[in-house]
């Protein structure tokens, strides 16, 4: 077919003038007719023959009502919106997908002369294009949008586009269109849709997405209309290619503090036990740290680990890790897009102070069956996907399970051999996509079990379902309606002390319904608005005595219920060609509800059971308290020149859900707790400013960002707090202020033989709990560093591709040691030595330094093959540094000895095998 096209093209230049000759007019009034039948009709009426390929028009139902039109107009009308285009050819008509044969050379746009060199050149050289895809014609493609004469003069046409993956047929989220003439563009939403307003005319547009080849089109706008563009995955670039970075991505993206990561880059990086952990990789980005190995939480811009919202296809995930934080709780192969919002958080998100981590899963290949998977020493995983109905309905199924259990039993250590651990996760998605409507269903389940000898048993699981219907209303409004359910539950049995042995089950449920709209008012103005409600139901469970000998008293930690309703509106307006202003507002009403018994305490005494003065009873669904939470979000984006911009943002957030944890790492029995009668929601204001520049010549992007964040009502736990003893959390929690500030520097080089990034962050996170009375203070009311206050963090991530089948990668990480409270002196109580500790977090453990390496070997590059394999060999902590996780003191035989505990103090070598059906580039 492509050869035919090339032939046609050459012919066309010579014969174009004769094409318009036969103009026999006819009338067509048909409904529900197949295109093949219609073309026969056209030939009968006008003697013009229509050439097309059967498979392109198979689904097409022709419905036209036309009087006195020529054959071409009739066919054009019949094909409207199908993505197919009709062209004249020797007096006959040829139907081609999304391409017009040129009748003449297009007017070339020379406006950008002083800008980047030759921005209209292709990103791939012809030779490489041929290498990858076979022979392809050098066609400058034209997109024709709307109908001639279909617009009212003087108004702008609203055009809606959809960006899809050429191979899998999946929508691409966050792909951009950049229109050179108006120096503006738009980004696609989760279903690949983007819209903008343009005056009728001819434009040069570039479509781009990270990890994909850019495409340039000449777009011809006549009136309101639609188009579809397919982008192709890019492969490793060769030397002669001129790359001018990703200017749209970085310079034009309107959100300061938004990070995106490509999944391919993550695959090649060295990872502990070969588990591709997107959350661990995110800690190499500026402003994000983790307090150590085996620690599930992330700390974003000096925030606690419960201040991050984590979504997988809109499902909130309340525990994001397997095996206590060593592994991620979901299969990396299902991830299509991963975004981290940490500076300016769009108004559609709320509820967590620090960040939003948003994962969008693959929707399933819409063209053909596809399978991929892998095996590493801990887990095996498999993803299958494919069309149920080609181009319309697709599915994706993923399963991953550990098989490490048998290994534990082989080990000659009584505690380990009697322990067992297992985890698994499954997910499945179904996507239905017809022109203006997309329906997607997604389900997720993860499960973990761990029993340490006969001391402890843990079990936890996440379950979630989301259903989304997206629809484009008219030309410029796109709406999405979602129903979401999520549940996280754990159960613990603690048998360490027979007398105090207990079992405890906990469950949090999240039910959400929401509607989100995106309205392109004009090419310079986009409005987003929406409304949603979340119903939280917590069953904090009962701490029950376990075993016949347990003397433990049963404690019912109680149930909680709350409604969180919000609405938001946000407008993004290009005030000037170089200035974009986004102003948004979000209003949330948080209502904890009965049934509940609440205690009142004497005003000037500690909140302890003995000081209870009154008991309040709230009936089923009765509001215990109403919290009104207005958030303001503002961002300004100044484009300083073609290669740089300055972004300012102000971000306000509220948080109603907290984690009850007294440990630095997130333990598997950490409970989530809602704000209630006593515990007020936290609130934060963040100010950030950033400078972004691309150095196109070197393929380098750079940024420097500053932030200052002030949080009030930050919940901090009293010394010795224990959340299993009492349902009344207010007796163990105090609320104070948190302040975080920092600077983040980032340099990234992409699409080169040697690529990667360097990030450096200086940031502080300080907490102050200075209530009026001594019992309402922590650290005597003085400010102290948060447990996760890491001032310096430097990460160097490099990958080198000597050839297409080999990648060498490394990660270097340096972090200041986390704060710690050390004993500073010793005294004797009846000859028992007792340690006196410093003020809270006054010291730091030694710095954390780690270097990892990996080698990725790709299978052969044959185009025709059944399956492609890759082998990844990695060494984690290659130099075997004992990075201390904690330093602690023990009194042994009267001596005070200090020890450091390292989670992983040796190099860990892993081999991983990954496979996928098809060839090297198949998707």
């Amino acid at each position: 077919m492509k050869r035919l096209l090339t032939g046609i093209l050459f012919l066309l230049f010579t014969v174009s003038s004769i094409a318009q000759q036969s103009q026999k007019l006819a009338s067509f009034h048909v409904k529900g007719m197949s295109f093949a039948q219609f073309s026969t009709l056209v030939q009968k009426e006008t003697s013009v023959q229509v050439f097309f390929q059967e498979k392109w028009v198979k689904k097409l139902q022709v419905e036209v009502s036309l009087d006195n039109v020529n054959a071409k107009t009739a066919v054009e009308q019949a094909l409207l919106g199908s993505g197919l285009e009709v062209s004249d050819w020797h007096g006959n008509l040829v139907v081609l997908p999304a391409e017009k044969l040129l009748a003449a050379l297009p007017p070339y746009d020379f406006e950008d002369k002083k800008g980047r060199p030759d921005t209209t050149s292709k990103v791939l050289t012809a030779s490489e294009e041929r290498y990858l895809t076979g022979r392809n014609a050098d066609v400058l493609q034209i997109l024709k949008i709307g109908r001639k004469g279909g617009h009212l003069s003087g108004t702008k046409a609203k055009i809606t586009g959809r960006i899809m993956d050429e191979e899998s047929g999946e929508a691409i989220f966050s792909a951009t269109i950049y229109v050179t003439e108006i120096k503006a563009g738009a980004a696609s939403d989760m279903d690949g849709f983007l819209s903008l307003s343009l005056k009728p005319g001819v434009y040069n547009a570039t479509f781009q997405y990270m990890g994909y080849q850019s495409k340039k089109y000449q777009i011809e706008v006549f009136s309101d209309g639609e188009f579809t563009v397919n982008l192709k995955k890019s492969v490793i670039q060769m030397k002669e290619i001129v790359v001018y970075g990703d200017p749209q991505m970085n310079i034009r993206a309107k959100d300061p503090g938004l990070d995106k990561m490509s999944i391919k880059a993550i695959r090649e990086l060295p990872m502990l036990m070969g588990e591709r952990d997107i959350l661990k990789v995110s800690t190499t980005l500026p402003g994000i740290v983790s307090v150590g190995e085996g620690s599930a939480g992330l700390n974003v811009r000096g925030g606690g680990s419960d201040q991050n919202a984590f979504y997988l296809n809109k499902i909130p995930i309340y525990n994001t890790s397997h095996l206590f934080g060593f592994f991620p709780a979901f299969n990396a192969d299902i991830i299509k897009d991963f975004s981290i919002y940490k500076g300016f958080i769009p108004a559609q998100y709320g509820g967590h102070l620090s960040s939003v981590l948003d994962i969008v899963s693959r929707q399933g290949n819409r063209k053909h069956f596809m399978a991929r998977g892998g095996i590493n020493p801990v887990t095996g995983n498999l993803v299958v996907e494919g069309p149920i109905k080609k181009d319309t309905l697709s599915y994706m199924l993923s399963a991953r399970a550990s098989y490490s259990d048998w290994i534990l039993s082989k080990i000659n250590d009584p505690v380990i051999s009697n322990s067992n651990a297992a985890f698994n996760d499954v997910s499945g998605g179904l996507n239905y996509d017809i022109r203006k409507t997309q329906v997607s269903l997604f389900g997720y389940h993860s499960y973990d079990r761990f029993s340490l000898s006969d001391l402890n048993e843990y079990e936890y699981s996440n379950n979630g379902v989301s259903a989304t219907v997206g629809h484009t209303f008219g030309k410029s409004i796109r709406g999405e309606f979602s129903v979401i359910g999520s549940q996280y539950a754990f159960s613990t049995i603690d048998k360490q002390d027979v007398n105090k042995a207990y079992s405890h089950d906990y469950k949090i449920e999240h039910y959400e319904i929401r509607a989100d709209f995106n309205h392109a008012i004009s090419d310079r103005n986009t409005l987003e608005y929406g409304i949603g409600t979340v119903l939280y139901k917590l069953d904090r469970g009962t701490v029950d005595p376990y075993g016949d000998n347990s003397l433990r008293q049963e404690v019912d930690l109680g149930k909680e219920k709350a409604l969180e309703s919000s609405l938001y509106i946000s407008d993004s307006y290009d005030v000037l060609p170089w200035l974009n202003l986004t102003v948004g507002g979000r209003f949330t009403m948080f209502t904890p509800m009965g049934p509940k018994t609440v205690y009142e305490y004497a005003p000037d005494l500690p909140k302890e059971p003995r000081n209870i003065t009154d008991t309040l009873y709230f009936d089923e669904n009765k509001a215990i308290k109403r919290y009104n939470e207005p958030d303001i979000r503002v961002s300004m984006n100044f484009k300083t020149d073609d290669a740089g911009s300055i972004k300012l943002a102000f971000n306000q957030m509220h948080q109603n859900l907290f984690m009850l944890s007294t440990t630095t790492a997130i333990a598997p029995n950490t409970q989530w707790k809602l704000a209630d009668y006593h515990l007020a929601p936290s609130k934060s204001n963040q100010y950030s400013a950033g400078v972004f520049r691309t150095l196109a010549k070197f393929g380098i992007e750079t940024s420097a960002e500053l932030f200052y964040k002030q949080t009030t009502n930050y919940p901090e736990f009293k010394d010795g707090a224990n959340f299993l003893n009492t349902p009344n959390v207010e007796t163990s929690v105090l609320q104070g202020d948190q302040r975080a500030y920092g600077i983040e520097l980032y340099v990234k080089r992409s699409l080169r033989k040697l690529e990667g990034w360097i990030s450096y962050t200086y940031s502080r996170s300080l907490i102050k709990v200075d209530g009026e009375h001594p019992w309402d203070q922590i650290n005597n009311g003085k400010e102290y560093p948060a447990n996760y206050d890491i001032p310096h963090s430097l990460n160097v991530v490099l990958s080198y591709h000597p050839n297409r089948r080999l990648t060498l990668a490394s990660i270097f990480t340096y972090q200041t040691g986390k704060p710690v409270t050390y004993p500073v002196s010793v005294y004797y109580y009846n000859s028992v030595p007792v340690l006196d500790y410093s003020s809270r977090n006054a010291y730091r453990i030694p710095d954390y330094i780690r270097t990892d390496f990996s080698v990725t070997i790709e299978g052969n590059l044959k185009k025709q093959k059944f399956m492609h394999s890759s082998f990844i060999f990695s060494v984690y902590n290659a130099f075997g540094r004992d990075n201390p996780y904690s330093v602690y003191y023990k009194v042994e035989d009267g001596f005070i000895r200090s020890y450091k505990y390292s989670v992983i103090g040796v190099p860990v070598f892993t081999a991983t095998w990954l496979f996928k059906l098809g060839n090297y580039v198949s998707e």
Binding site: P414, V826, I845, Y901
Partner: protein, 396 residues
Amino acid sequence: MYQNRHIFIATMLLFLMASCIQRFDPEIKSTDAVKYVITGQVNSGDDVQRINIGTSSPISKPEIIPVTGCSVKIIDSKGNEYPATDVWNGNYDVTIPKSELVPGNAFKVEILVPGGTHIVSDFDQIQSGPPVDSVYYEVQSLPTASPVEFTDGIQFYVDLNAGNYSCRNYRYDVVETYEYHTKYPIEWWYNGLLRHTLPPDSSKMVCWRTSTLRDVYMISTKELAENSYKKYALNFVDNQSSARLVYGYSLLVRQFTMSDEAFKYWEKIRINSQEQGGLYESQPMSIKGNLHNITNPDQDVLGFFSATTVSQKRIFVKDVPDLPIEFVFNCVIGSLPWGGLRGTDPIKYPIYLPQRSIWIDDQWVSTYDLLTIDHECVDCTSTVGGTTVKPDYWPN
């Protein structure tokens, strides 16, 4: 195949055993000031009550630093004042009539340190508690770092039965005493001159050593349905690392009632000292007791002043069934130091020499060769805390 499996397991071990614990000495700022430490209690069991005043010492050099010359008085909730006298080494003794040391009465301490610093405690109330219920032991094998080796010994327990009493918090002081012997009597020794005692002096062959265990043992029954507790584990004594179980071992368990404030203080100390060093360690904390520096409120005062009811029980252990003694007294026989006896630093006097022939490695060795033996081989008082005075509670 067999070998392959081993390689695989070894790889896995590498991962599982990757976590490690090592000695580590962080640097502590000298500016973290030395603080006053007040410890002491009034209890219903003793005639004379003792308060100790001192300062804390650096971690690197732990020592007891007494503060003398303070003016100390104890005041009860009825307003009675009992001045204390500075007896020795930071100790201040006071006599309170037994009629006042009853549950329900509360006490506080007021101290004036010579520099002028004024320290006051909160009132602490005496709770009523039961006598110690029973103290007993079980023979146990504990796993060691090596998977094939176990340590045999006895684990002591105490039961609490306080059904009829109001106090829910108890702390235990555990004091152990054991008898131990040297291997030989003193015969030849050198302190500048070579000495020979005949008949050999066996007066330092049998000793007793008493020490307070340095662990914090506490029971709180607040989370429990009943005010009782079965088999609260105290210390473990093994049969190989010391002579404890060879000639007789005695354990004294003293049970103190605690107010809620005292419990919170001790509980924090226990959390600080025990529950650390894992993945999910909780934050250690600086611990405030019930003492306040009135003169300089910013300066914390360490320690706790408590009022308590005390009860005690002693248990004696010898010849435990099913527990063979594996302790071997390793009497170190050394050759003469460089320079001979005369060349030895007098600080090391006396130098003990073995008898004419001694039993080494399953045979009699003639000691015409010049050998020396360790002090522990002939003089039991050379062990710290050892005394040749037999405790009066020791069975004959």
